[in-house]
């Protein structure tokens, strides 16, 4: 696996709800092992872009390639196979509320592997321990805090050792310390597993701390205006909107 092999390529993508065009002409590349940040102001379509990447919503125009495969041009089986190699952490965790954490994490394993129940229990224990929640197997999602739900959501997303992990606003609604620990967790997982991470966020601290590649969606121009390492973007950009965003509104 080389460092710069393209993992997801997006070409001329247009996102729309009915007649309302949200973003057009999106073209960027996510490399293997990237922590790729999708950033932009509220309502610019960050989350929509992610739902297109993970196969929940078809784009109005344009293409998404996973490796060499045209994702939305492929048949549903191929799409399913690709998406099964990725994991998603939803904004609210989206844990299945009628199941315990252990059952939540076990479900993908039961569905897609031939592991014995004992082996599954071990894997579940390990995944929970990885996100710092060892011992919470028998808890229901409603019984733990929001930050813990997000961590458990990551554990579930990692259940099948995915090649790509999607994070929808991982630090939204978390206190600064928890948010920081979540960032560390994402970095750590990338370092040790080499997983490609796609993170939707507008949390500046996170963007600079973890991102090594990014795309900026400019809501006023309805398209992307920059892509690259966010730290480099901050140093080099001349675009006033991006500058405003990356400096928290301080013009310099």
């Amino acid at each position: 696996m080389t460092e710069t092999a393209a993992h997801i390529t997006v070409r001329d993508l247009t996102m729309a709800y009915g007649d309302f065009v949200l973003m057009r002409d999106l073209t960027f590349t996510i490399n293997r092992g990237d922590i790729f940040i999708i950033m932009g102001g509220s309502g610019c379509g960050k989350s929509t872009l992610m739902t297109i990447l993970m196969g929940l919503k078809a784009p109005a125009k344009g293409k998404v390639f996973y490796g060499e495969v045209d994702f939305w041009g492929a048949d549903p089986q191929t799409r399913n196979r690709i998406i099964r190699r990725s994991g998603v952490m939803y904004q609210s965790g989206a844990l299945w509320s009628s199941m315990t954490l252990a059952e939540n994490i076990a479900l993908p394993l039961e569905t897609y592997t031939n592991l014995s129940p004992a082996q599954i229990r071990e894997v579940v224990k390990l995944k929970l321990a990885l996100v710092g929640m060892a011992g919470f197997e028998e808890f229901y999602p409603a019984e733990i805090s929001g930050g813990m739900q997000k961590r458990a959501g990551i554990a579930r997303a990692m259940a099948l050792d995915p090649e790509i992990l999607f994070f929808d606003e991982p630090s939204a609604g978390l206190d600064p310390v928890s948010a920081r620990r979540l960032d560390d967790l994402i970095l750590e997982l990338r370092e040790s597993l080499g997983t490609t991470m796609v993170v939707v966020t507008h949390e500046l601290a996170s963007i600079f701390a973890i991102g090594n590649n990014s795309v900026f969606l400019d809501v006023s121009q309805r398209t992307m205006t920059a892509t690259g390492n966010p730290n480099q973007l901050l140093a080099e950009t001349r675009d006033p909107n991006l500058r405003l965003f990356l400096t928290r509104g301080e013009q310099s």
């Binding site: 739902t51 196969g55 929940l56 399913n80 989206a94 993908p108 569905t111």
Partner: protein, 377 residues
Amino acid sequence: MTLRGEMFMEQPSAETLKVILAGHWKLGGELPKADKVQQRLESRPGVRHLVFDTRGLADWDTGLLTFLVNVGTFCSQQNIQLNRDGLPPGAKRLLELAAAVPEKKDARKAEERVSFLIYLGNETVNFFRSAGQLLEFIGEAVIAVRRLVQGQAQYRRADLGLIIQAVSAQALPIVSLICFLVGLILAFIGAIQLQLFGAQIYVADLVGIAMVRLMAAIMTGIVMAGRTGGAFAAQLGTMQVNQEIDALKTLGISPIEFLVLPRMLALALMMPLLCLYANVMGILGGMVVGVGMLDIGFIQYYNQTAAAVGLWNLGIGLFSGTVFGVIVALAGCMRGMQCGRSASAVGDAATSAVVTAIVGIIVSTAVITILCNFLGI
């Protein structure tokens, strides 16, 4: 005592209007309207500047600000210069803050008035679209059943068990009550007519056939539509709101197989049993009236019922029950899956599930009755 805001206007020069604000400019008090300033400005077209004098102002809140915003809007329409210097510094800053980000014109929801024909056309298109969705959903459910038969369906046995418990054992009390009373009511109504001919004994036939062939299934179906169909829609709708269904999809697990199939299966399996039980309760209800009021012997009533109710009646009743079970499950699950992403959408989904299920039950009863009539059974 209500606090009052006062306003006077004077004109130091032909081009300038001075608005003097005094007293308590607070919401809920008696405040002058901005229209007065507007009328004054319209009656003196020469005015180009508007200034304020607020030295007499005791205190103020949003009441003052909305007044100033209204005056400001009119002034900018008429190209009259508004001088904010005379205002309290806090009010001045707040007005500047409110004007800092210009109103987003395309953010407003377009409230178009549509003509009746357009409305009718949209509704018609929507109707066919929702009919299409219904067929699509039924199709997906059928495919899920096929995969179940092939042993490939992904669902949790434990879920199925829990749902079976919820739709059968826990429904017994309400089904008992309703069906016992329906049997009782049928017997009462029948008894009054039959007594005229001295044919009270036929109350047993009437209650037996009506319950076993039709009423038990319908009443159980309606009870289940209310208590189970609504619950299914609310459960699945809440899962939709929490993105739990998205989470299933992104794992490549079909929500139809994982959520809809066990619910459908549970109701299809349990409804015939519930109907059987409802039959017994209904006949008991009739028996209470027959034995207690009409002086029919217990054994006599039993024998009369057993002779009247044929196996075909029972078969049709149980078949209807199964069909109703599938309808209730499908309606509940479909509305839940179509649910929007808000709390009120979950409520709508539950309501709509119950309505859909009851309509489905009545329509399918009609179809079954007509078919049986043609077949002569």
